[in-house]
């Protein structure tokens, strides 16, 4: 792509108000990772799956972990219920270090942490009812209580009439609902979602995410989810961390990471959700102005308080000349309006750099994409 990327030297937008969101109260954290590392013995020497992870997940929040495949998400989420044993560092749950738990305490811990999986992992030889009942059965819960609980959960996930079916007779969405019912049967305080919607079609994904959000609000449980899709994060998460090569490269409230991504990986992951220049314009884009008549193409990213629906008239008149809106939109995440505008400015007395500066009064990020004749 022959795009001149005149990234403005980052003048920090005032963030002090949000700093507290980045450093929540550690003493009340539900799940805390301290200097967590995981190293495998690979064929070509040790592989660092996780390195120096320090995170705190608060009670009742929906916490997203995103990254490309192989970034270490899977290992990280599995250290919470110790399906994965970290090589270094500690995991605290309700302030208790779970590192030294024996099998008894581990079993007890896992009953307080539900988990759902990308491929559902239902027992194929058991009916829906038996699948949901299994965690209670192995915990020695009496039959009458089991029946009541299973019925209650099948109602919650809307599968009451499917209780006799085997997993093979269900659709993907229904299977995940069974998985959710099974995960919640011990009334856990934490729900781990391992790419829970990655094997589902978009419509089913929406309904499962809706269900998860409902559960989070109704039961007040903490949800930790991993995904490689930013759309999932946008849909239900409160906060997000971006992992790359086993390290946290970015973290913050979802609206902030979406509105003003700092790291290359975050931008790459966000790219599918962003407004792109129309293909026909993209082709005509030039790195340098052909003549003084050439229009400058700008990308504006508006975030947070500054973007309470952008005042286009003011913006346009500040830029001067003829301003055209090529592509753009505004969406709301966690009450913050996030806008993206692709503009072309022609016949302005200002140069590209000046235009960028001017636009910077309205937008968090301004990028000069190039010129069109």
């Amino acid at each position: 792509m022959s795009v001149v990327n005149l990234q403005r030297p980052r003048e920090e937008t005032p963030r002090s108000a949000e700093q507290t969101e980045l450093h929540p109260d550690l003493n009340r954290a539900h799940v805390r990772f301290i200097g967590l590392g995981k190293t495998y013995e690979g064929r070509e020497g040790p592989v660092h799956a996780l390195q120096g992870i320090d995170l705190a997940i608060q009670c009742g929040e929906v916490f997203g972990i995103i990254g490309r495949s192989g970034a270490g998400k899977s290992s990280l989420i599995r250290t919470i219920n110790r399906l994965e044993q970290p090589s270094s560092g500690r995991v605290l749950i309700d302030q208790v270090d779970i590192g030294e738990f024996d099998e008894n305490r581990l079993v007890e811990l896992r009953r307080r942490i539900g988990m759902i999986f990308q491929h559902f992992n239902l027992m194929s030889a058991k009916t829906v009812w038996q699948n949901v009942e299994l965690p209670l059965k192995v915990a020695g819960v009496p039959k009458l209580q089991r029946e009541q609980k299973v019925r209650e959960l099948l109602d919650l996930v809307g599968l009451r009439d499917k209780y006799k079916a085997y997993p093979a007779q269900l659709s993907g969405g229904q299977k995940q609902r069974v998985g959710i019912a099974r995960a919640l049967v011990h009334d856990p305080a934490i729900l781990l979602c391992d790419e829970a919607t990655s094997a589902l079609d978009p419509e089913t994904t929406q309904s499962i995410l809706g269900l998860l959000r409902e559960i989070n609000q109704r039961l007040g449980l903490t949800i930790v989810l991993i995904t490689h899709e930013m759309a999932v994060i946008r849909e239900i998460c409160d906060r997000v961390v971006v992992l790359e090569h086993g390290r946290v490269v970015e973290q913050g409230p979802v609206w902030q990471v979406f509105g003003d991504p700092q790291h290359e990986v975050s931008r790459t992951l966000l790219a599918p959700l962003q407004h792109a220049l129309p293909a026909e314009l993209q082709e005509r884009l030039q790195a340098r102005p052909e003549s003084s008549e050439s229009a400058v193409v700008l990308r504006l990213q508006l975030t947070g308080s500054a973007a309470d629906e952008p005042d286009l008239a003011a913006l346009f008149s500040a830029l001067g000349g003829r301003v055209r809106l090529l592509q753009g939109g505004v969406e709301r995440i966690q009450g913050h309006a996030l806008g993206q505008l692709l503009l072309s400015v022609s016949g302005s007395s200002l140069g590209a750099e000046e235009l960028r500066q001017r636009a910077g009064r309205w937008a968090q990020q301004v990028e000069v994409l190039g010129y069109v004749a």
């Binding site: 009953r111 999986f117 030889a125 965690p135 093979a168």
Partner: protein
Amino acid sequence: MWLERLWQVVIYTFLMVGVSSLIALLLGIPLAVILVTSDKGGIYEAPVVNRVLGAFVNLFRSIPFLILMVALIPFTRLIVGTTYGVWAAVVPLTIAATPFFARIAEVSLREVDHGLIEAAQAMGCRRWHIVWHVLLPESLPGIVGGFTITLVTMINSSAMAGAIGAGGLGDIAYRYGYQRFDSQVMLTVIVLLVILVAVIQLGGDRLARVLNKR
């Protein structure tokens, strides 16, 4: 006169195959479970146990039944007090069938998706819960199929045992068919065996299909 004996001989075959297969079933499944769970990455990881057991199974699996039977004669005498008749045949048959069936059951157990074991751990299953509620039920169709194969193989082996004095269909075929060239007896034995194997195979297949919910 041989027709009267035929009925008795069929019962002998049933006895030999039935008893030895039943013991093989009862010993083979635990053996297979230990082989799978003690392996690297298994829920009861124990490399030494795994290697020793594996070597034992391979040892018996590599000896042809006829040789195994002869080699075991002193052992058989020790156990049942005789080296002649149905009960003497049960000993080598069982010792041959158990590792055979254990290996087949092991394959089915290994095919259980690791994700299911992970899910079971995540829901708070102890390790024996995983064996009882996950590994065994999930691999049951495969185990039933494997047991069917074991039964058919045992019929095969029992005929060999019959030839050296165990009684059963092998015995009658050997005496009348081989030593007297009585083709009528031979034919009857063959028809009986074909029916027997077909019934076992059909029954086993049907049961495995009913149990398979995948």
